[in-house]
Symmetry: C2
Subunit: 222 residues, 2 copies
C-alpha cells in the first residue's frame, strides 16, 4: 500500500468538496432555507428526534428531510408518516455524504420552497465529520446509552458540530452516565458548544430544541 | 470529483489489504493464536464486554487486546486494569483498521505467546466491515438501545461477521426492542449466524459467550 497516494487523492477530494459545500451553503442562504446536517452513531435516535420535531413544527414552517442511507428506506417511510417531505438517498456503500451528494438529494425536492431541511446523515460518528455537506449547521446527537466519554474518542465529530443534542435522557437512571462529564468532554473539543439534553419519547427538554430551531430558521431569512 | 479515480484507488487498496489479511490469518493459525476482530457502533459495549471476558478467562489462557482508537487511550487503560496485555493503536483519524495496521499493532506484543487476541476496532458500524483485518473471525456487537432494525441499515457489517453479540440485554424492558426481529433481520444478511444475547453488567447470557470462545480457541490449536 502506498499511503502517500491515498492521502493525496483524499486531499483533492476534500478540497473539491469544501468548494462545493461553500457554494451550496451560499445557495441555501439565498433561498432562505436552513439546512441542518444531523450526525450520530447508528441508533442514537436521529429519526425519532426528527419525527417529533416535524410534528411540533409542521404547522408553522415547511420541512423536508434528506435521508442518507447505505441501504433501505426504513427512515424515509417513517418521516413521510410524520408529515414532512422526504427524499431517500442511497450512498452506495459510502459511509458519509459529500456536498455533491447532498445537492443531488436536494434536487429531489423539486422547486418547492422549504424553510427547514434536515439531512439525516449515515449513522457513523467518524467519517461524516470529515466531509462538509454544505449544511448551514451541523448538529451531533449522542444518546445516553453510548456513554459520556465519546467526545474523547471521536474528537472531530464534536469539533465540527455547532450543537450537541443529548438524546434518550429518559433512560438516564439505568445507565452510568454523567451529563456534567459529557458537557465537559464535549466543550473540551468545542468550547462554548450549545448542548441540549432531551427525550423525544417523553418530550422532556424538547422545547429548548424547538426554540433553537425557530431562532435559526428566522436568522437564515435575515 | 472524479468518482472513477477514487474507486480505482480503493479497489487497489482493498485487494492489497485482502492479501495482507490472508497472510496474517495464516500466521495466526500457525502460532495457534485465535485473533478475534470485535466491531460495533460507538458505545455498544465493546470494552465492557472485553473487561468481563478477560476476568472470566485470564486464569485459563493468555489474552491480549489490541485497542484501535482514533485518539485517546481510555480503553487501553481499562483493559490493563482487567488483567490482560494491551497495545494501543492510534489510527490517525482513520475510521477502520487494515491488516497492515493490525500487524503493526500485534508487533507491540513482542514475542510472547497469546491464546486469544482481541482487536477492539474503531467504533463504527460501516467502514471496519469493508477492511479485512486478518482476524480469524469477526464478531459484531449490537446493543439493545441501538434498535432491532440495524441489520437492515448496515448490511455489510452483518454479512461479514461470523457471530453477533447482542449487548445490554439488562435494559431490554425500557426500550422498544424485539430480539426475534433482530435475529430475523441479522439472519437475512447472514443465514445461520450465531447470535448471543447477553449483559456484561449482570452476567446474564455470558456463559454461552465464554464457552463459544473456549471452543474457538481450542479449534485454533488443532
Amino acid at each position: 500500500m502506498d499511503p502517500i497516494r491515498i492521502i493525496e487523492v483524499k486531499e483533492n477530494v476534500l478540497a473539491k468538496n469544501d468548494r462545493d459545500a461553500d457554494k451550496l451553503r451560499a445557495k441555501m442562504k439565498e433561498n432562505k432555507t436552513l439546512l441542518i446536517n444531523i450526525m450520530s452513531s447508528p441508533g442514537s435516535g436521529k429519526t425519532t428526534l426528527l419525527k417529533r420535531t416535524i410534528k411540533e413544527l409542521k404547522d408553522e414552517m415547511k420541512i423536508g428531510v434528506l435521508e442518507a442511507d447505505i441501504d433501505s428506506d426504513v427512515d424515509a417511510a417513517a418521516i413521510l408518516g410524520a408529515g414532512a417531505d422526504s427524499v431517500q438517498l442511497h450512498t452506495g456503500g459510502a459511509c458519509h455524504l459529500t456536498a455533491d451528494m447532498t445537492e443531488q438529494g436536494l434536487a429531489g425536492f423539486g422547486d418547492k420552497h422549504y424553510d427547514l431541511v434536515f439531512i439525516e446523515n449515515v449513522g457513523n460518528l467518524v467519517c461524516p465529520a470529515e466531509f462538509d455537506t454544505g449544511a448551514t449547521m451541523n448538529v451531533c446527537l449522542l444518546s445516553v446509552p453510548e456513554g459520556d466519554d465519546k467526545p474523547l474518542k471521536y474528537p472531530l465529530m464534536f469539533q465540527v458540530s455547532h450543537a450537541l443534542v443529548v438524546t434518550k435522557i429518559d433512560v438516564r437512571s439505568v445507565f452510568d452516565f454523567d451529563l456534567a462529564k459529557l458537557e465537559k468532554n464535549a466543550r473540551m473539543r468545542h468550547p462554548g458548544m450549545k448542548i441540549m439534553p432531551l427525550s423525544a419519547k417523553t418530550g422532556d427538554g424538547f422545547e429548548e430544541w424547538i426554540n433553537f430551531l425557530r431562532e435559526k430558521v428566522a436568522e437564515q431569512k435575515k
